[in-house]
């Protein structure tokens, strides 16, 4: 993460320097920039992909939101993007469903549980990998590869059988444990890189002052590794919030499902499709996360660009 920040600054620096030295900033877009006509063509060439990008990313949301604000019949009668009389009936209907409220609560619980357990497991392990020379150290490489090697799809049947044998089927705790297990390798890997950048001297000084290892982790390592912890927490929460394959097989009763499962069932259960309700349900599962996201965008971007995608 620290490296990322460095790159960003570097990119900005060069841009600033170049802008100052070489006139209009879009000079670098191409050689045509010399003539006014060329610059116009160039602008258009740049704007077309950007407009497509925004349409591609945002339109599906806007259309879904528009449908969620219509009445059931209106969806067919008036397929326009702007509803004539926007109404919140679909949202009221969805929130009134016990299935939605239960699933929402489960998603929140499993999400925070996964984030907490992932951090609790990975911090000590990362500290051991980063600070001690012991034989298990070589497992670190395996840690970086395992999540890529084993997708949740491959875990579906074995974990189902294990859960049945262990009597752990249909429990929220099982979901928390399983999702944490899937996130731990990535979390350890991110944290090791981070902890290694914290100067050992800090800890050695604290050691001289009589701080135990626990205290050193608590008061030196954790505060300095906070950005990594937030990234891990967000990625863990995202996994629990969005995961479908495992919740599909590890839960059996309605009370234990998370949002994606409930949304999946919603499509099939109602005989005649209630499109506004489906749209409202979808928006309600996405919006909370987008609200969190606007506050922590850089951590997620860091998570993606360090190759921690899943």
């Amino acid at each position: 993460m620290a490296t990322n920040t460095r790159h960003n600054t570097r990119a900005t620096d060069t841009r600033v320097a170049r802008d100052g030295a070489s006139g209009p900033p879009d000079r670098r877009i191409g050689g045509l920039a010399a003539s006014p006509l060329g610059r116009g063509v160039r602008r258009v060439l740049l704007w077309i992909p950007l407009i497509i990008l925004v349409l591609w990313t945002v339109m599906p949301f806007l259309i879904t939101m528009s449908i969620s604000l219509k009445a059931r019949g209106e969806v067919f009668a008036d397929p326009g993007l702007l509803p004539d009389s926007p109404r919140l009936d679909a949202y009221r209907e969805v929130i009134a469903r016990p299935g939605f409220r239960g699933a929402f609560l489960n998603s929140v619980l499993v999400g925070f549980g996964t984030a907490a357990l992932t951090i609790a497991i990975s911090v000590p392990a990362a500290y051991a990998f980063a600070r001690f020379g012991f034989r298990g150290r070589h497992l670190l490489l395996l840690f970086t590869l395992l999540p890529r090697l084993v997708p949740s799809l491959g875990l579906m049947i074995p974990l189902y059988q294990i859960a049945v044998t262990a009597g752990m089927l249909d429990k929220r705790l099982t979901l928390v444990i399983v999702y944490s297990g899937m996130l731990v390798p990535l979390a350890v890997w991110l944290l090791v890189g981070f902890i290694q950048q914290i100067p050992r001297e800090l800890e050695e000084a604290a050691n001289v002052d009589g701080a135990s290892m626990f205290k050193r982790i608590r008061y030196i390592v954790l505060p300095l590794a906070l950005p990594a912890l937030i990234t891990i927490g967000v990625l863990a929460f995202r996994e629990a919030w969005n995961e479908f394959t495992l919740v599909l097989v590890l839960t059996t009763t309605p009370g234990k499902r998370t949002l994606p499962y409930e949304l999946y069932l919603m499509q099939g259960i109602q005989g005649i499709q209630n499109y506004p309700a489906e749209a409202a349900f979808t928006i309600l599962t996405i919006v909370p996360f987008i609200l969190i996201y606007t506050r922590i965008e850089k951590y997620i971007v860091a998570g993606i660009t360090t190759g921690s995608v899943k």
Binding site: H7, N8, A11, T14, R15, R28, I29, G30, G31, P49, L50, L53, V54, W56, T57, I63, V75, P79, I121, S122, P124, A125, Y127, A128, F129, F132, G133, G136, L146, R148, L149, V150, P151, G154, M156, I157, P158, I162, I177, G181, V184, P185, R200, E203, E204, S212, M213, N242, F244, P260, L263, Y264, A279, T282, T285, I286, I290, Y293, I300, I304
Partner: protein, 317 residues
């Protein structure tokens, strides 16, 4: 006598090993067991939840059970032999290839176009980068529901747009080819942020002086993109290719909620086949063989990934 010499040798070896790792273990206040205790929960979690299931899958795929819950009978590789003679499985393989290939073509094209466009964006428009990531936050199921709505035959905005262009409305989910296209579109929508961000990251690492030099030499925009930028971001392009294939190969949520494998099995990829074999037909051992096949494809992709990281030192970046 011999034991003493052995002890001596061991001691010397240990001392040598300690010397070859300067600085390690210099932190006071821990015993030799400390690192093992600290890392035990993580290693246990990974072993039980990630490593053991793989062993279990391989082992289980070598057995066959006559009836559900009955005793297993060792059949060796018979499950695999049966699989590769089963036209339904081969059909699923071919569907998977079409799906992954489609995702790659569309995903990489859009990823490059958007990556280059975002690279040109400066100042206030930088928020566009944030917008790009949003689909990454949306679950596969939600993506599928959204695409069912926008591709709906009667009121979907895509069909309305096609009609605006003079093309008749399409039945996206009853036509086999269009259903595959719809699945590819939805999958690309969900995973494109990964490709765009990686490519954008690569472009930003590029030395701008190279482009300036090319400009002085009279190279135009397209030429510079093809001859300089693209070769320079080869690592990021290859990495995106691998990640997109990985996501497409192991995606269940998007397809199961979008098409459910239909119509007439047109989108019955390996993941759908796996789910149905295991939880509808209840043929656990056969399903485990499918798991192993998917894991093998996955391992190939991972090998490619490792090779790339080594070759381009991606971890150092």
């Amino acid at each position: 006598m011999t034991t003493r010499r052995a002890t001596e040798r061991r001691r010397r070896r240990r001392a040598k090993r300690a010397a070859s790792r300067p600085d390690r273990g210099s932190l006071v206040g821990h015993s030799k067991a400390t690192p093992y205790v600290l890392s035990a929960p993580a290693i246990l979690a990974v072993s039980v939840l990630l490593a053991f299931p793989v062993v279990y899958a391989v082992w289980g795929s070598l057995y066959d059970t006559e009836f559900i819950g009955g005793p297993g009978r060792f059949v060796g590789f018979q499950q695999y032999v049966d699989l590769f003679q089963d036209p339904k499985f081969l059909w699923s393989m071919s569907r998977t290839f079409v799906f992954v290939f489609g995702v790659l073509i569309l995903g990489m094209t859009l990823g490059l176009v958007f990556g280059f466009a975002l690279h040109q964006v400066t100042g206030g428009m930088r928020f566009l980068r944030g917008v790009t990531i949003v689909p990454y936050l949306v679950s596969g199921i939600a993506t599928a529901v959204i695409f069912r709505l926008i591709l709906n035959q009667n009121f979907g905005q895509v069909n309305r747009f096609l009609e605006f262009l003079g093309i008749p409305a399409q039945a996206w989910f009853s036509d086999p080819n269009l259903a595959m296209l719809a699945s590819i579109l939805a999958q690309v929508w969900a995973d494109l942020p990964l490709a765009v961000l990686l490519i954008l990251g690569g472009l930003q690492l590029m030395d701008p002086q190279l482009l300036d030099a090319a400009e002085v030499d009279g190279a135009t925009g397209w030429k510079r993109a093809w001859r300089i930028s693209i070769p320079l971001i080869t690592p990021q392009i290859s990495l995106s290719t691998i990640l997109l294939s990985y996501q497409a190969l192991t995606s269940l949520g998007v397809i199961i909620a979008l098409t459910g494998g239909g119509p007439v099995d047109a989108t019955r990829t390996l993941t759908i086949a796996l789910y149905e074999t295991a939880f509808v037909d209840l043929e656990t051992n056969e399903a485990l063989a499918i798991v192993v096949v998917i894991l093998l494809f996955n391992a190939l992709l991972t090998l490619g990934y490792v090779g790339l990281s080594r070759r381009y030192n991606l971890d150092e970046q």
